[in-house]
């Protein structure tokens, strides 16, 4: 899960990482007194998970309390790259002398965390986090012993980091590492870390991505963090152990295994169709979860056709067929449903559905061709 700027800053404060004086709000009227409390000028920043929100008009400098309210209202009515702005962060305006970029993330090839630092220019954090940028100065963190002070010194000297801020930089890096390990983050980044004209070292913006595998350790801390990317159907799917992502197309899919699901979506796209979703049934399939999956697909107004592709082996085609039967009774769908079974007990699955109003397809590519035809209206 990715956190919004205001959520990241709240955590930065908790971990002793200095941030500008600021406050978050969802009400434009509040922007007036917040800006007065902070002291003008201030910046009003849209809280939305996209790159380049500044260029899209989501970050504005204001000089009076009235202007703060007007600008906050405008920003709160924006959709930036399709995402609504629900909150704005109001921060003291900062004059910057020099900017740095710091990130802690995982290096897949080294199988361990690393701390990287960069001393000029803007950068897409996610790109850097993939460790493609060989010119970023980096130190690898042994997860068993944690970040060491000498490693921060190494980075600082390589970048000619000003001596008088070295101690604060150390506290910031340690704070980032504690946050990273305490909260099981996949990435903690400060972009930028600024030396201000009035000689402070401040994290002006931050990005944190949490490792969803570790959610079970953090249920209480994370209550305040609604994942802004999930929609209602996605939340419902999670309750049933399904991996579901809504996509913009009209061909709904239900598959087992993340890889086979991606392969099925690719085939639809190759055939000229457009998938309405990603849905991986996972390995704990039963009547209940298949029924829930069918409900999600059938209630999606975009769905023109449903394609079910199951490889029996770990899960049973028979179990999926039973869930489909149940969903057919429960929801009496009017949209065409195409089914492809393969693997260990494909025959059992087909036999169970012979009497149902579904189309049984012996070839996956045929099934996909047919689904694309139906979805485009060329039946």
């Amino acid at each position: 899960m990715k956190l919004l700027e205001y959520q990241s800053k709240k955590l930065f404060r908790q971990y002793g990482i200095p941030v500008p004086t600021g406050q978050v709000t969802s009400i434009a009227r509040d922007a007036k007194h917040i800006s007065e409390e902070i002291g003008l000028p201030v910046v009003v920043k849209a809280q939305v998970l996209v790159e380049g929100r500044g260029a899209a008009g989501g970050i504005r400098l204001v000089r009076t309390p009235e202007e703060a309210e007007v600008q906050a209202a405008e920003i709160l009515s924006l959709r930036i790259h399709g995402l609504p702005v629900r909150k704005v962060q109001i921060d003291e305006a900062i004059s910057i002398e020099k900017e740095y970029f710091i990130v802690i993330t995982f290096d897949r090839s080294k199988k361990q965390p690393l701390l990287m630092m960069y001393d000029s220019g803007t950068i897409y954090i996610e790109t850097a986090a993939n460790a493609l940028f060989d010119h970023l100065e980096r130190v690898y963190i042994d997860p068993l012993i944690g970040l060491q002070r000498y490693q921060i010194r190494q980075l600082a000297y390589r970048l000619d980091f000003p001596n008088k801020f070295l101690r604060s930089l150390g506290e910031i890096c340690f704070g980032m590492w504690r946050l990273f390990s305490d909260l099981d983050a996949r990435m903690v980044a400060i972009n930028p870390l600024a030396i201000t004209n009035d000689q402070r070292l401040l994290a002006l913006d931050g990005k944190i991505t949490l490792d969803s595998n570790a959610d079970f350790r953090h249920t209480s801390q994370l209550d305040f963090l609604d994942d802004p990317l999930l929609n209602a159907a996605e939340i419902e799917a999670h309750k049933h152990g399904l991996e579901y992502i809504k996509l913009p197309g009209n061909i709904s899919c239900m598959v087992n295994g993340a890889g086979l699901t991606m392969a099925t979506l690719d085939m639809i796209a190759d055939e000229g169709g457009s998938p309405a979703n990603f849905l991986d049934l996972g390995s704990g399939v039963n009547n209940e979860s298949v029924n829930a999956a069918m409900k999600i697909l059938l209630t999606d107004p975009d769905t023109k056709v449903v394609i079910i592709n199951i490889f029996g082996g770990i899960i049973r085609c028979g179990d999926v067929a039973a869930g489909v039967q149940r969903a057919m009774q429960n929801y009496n769908p009017q949209i065409p449903i195409l089914i492809h079974f393969d693997g260990s007990d494909a025959e059992t699955g087909y036999a169970m559905l012979r009497e149902s109003r579904v189309m049984l397809m012996s070839s996956l590519s045929e099934a996909i061709k047919r689904a694309v035809e139906i979805a485009s209206g060329n039946v």
Partner: protein, 288 residues
Amino acid sequence: MSILINNTTRVIVQGITGREGSFHAERMFEMGTQIVAGVSPGKGGSWVLGEKVPVFDTMQGAMEVTEADASILFVPARQSTDALFEAADSGVNLVVCITEGVPLLDISKVCKYMESKNVRLIGPNCSGIFNPGGVNLGVAPADCAIPGNIGVISRSGTLSFYVMNEMKKIGLGVSTCLGIGGDLIQGTSFTEALELFDMDPYTERVLMIGEIGGLEEERAAKYAAYKMSKPVSAFLVGSSAPTGRKMGHSGAFIEGGIGTVQAKVEALEVSGVRVTTHIDCIGEILKG
């Protein structure tokens, strides 16, 4: 024959009394895998698999009696980190972690620790090691492939079964299928797996089944070009995946332009690897 394991490999199943553990232990046992013990805290002293295999409370207890070579984990995610360290300390030299949802930082620690103890980790979130017609240390259905000389490496379990089943339909057999797992950090990467297959006398060529996310396929491409003696082919999925969303696997996401299928195809083709993104074309890239 297989890489990493054979029919004399003595295996302990961690989590053998759980739903997944008992189901798959039985299937592996039927295939002829030498399961010598199970571990399940609180269930020590009982017997499973037709009263033929003893269950112990701890790995230490199981190792004292069996001196096993490998362990396989079906332990729920919340307990899996502890079980992985327990395996690392037990004296086995190969650990297969089937469990999905192990926290990343934990896996990173486990990798470091196992490296220091010279223990190889496969997974997590993987399908294990499967030698069609021989031995199985994982969850692959026995009938999804026929024996042959193509080594398969996959980030995705079910997709590899599907692909091997398609290969079976056109008479192409598999030496070993190594499921390396769909997480961001893998105990054994594509590159390390290629190295294992290059040394394996029963493998003549290798098929990598990759997906969006990270740069491991790209790294493997370099290895295939400069270090491998055997030909490598690749099937990649996720070319239609949107940016910034995690497609089921914790490692399958495109971010900041990194991890796209397009970039992987380019890197692999430059390295002389035959690549396809169409499931129907796998036969073509494995011939000639």
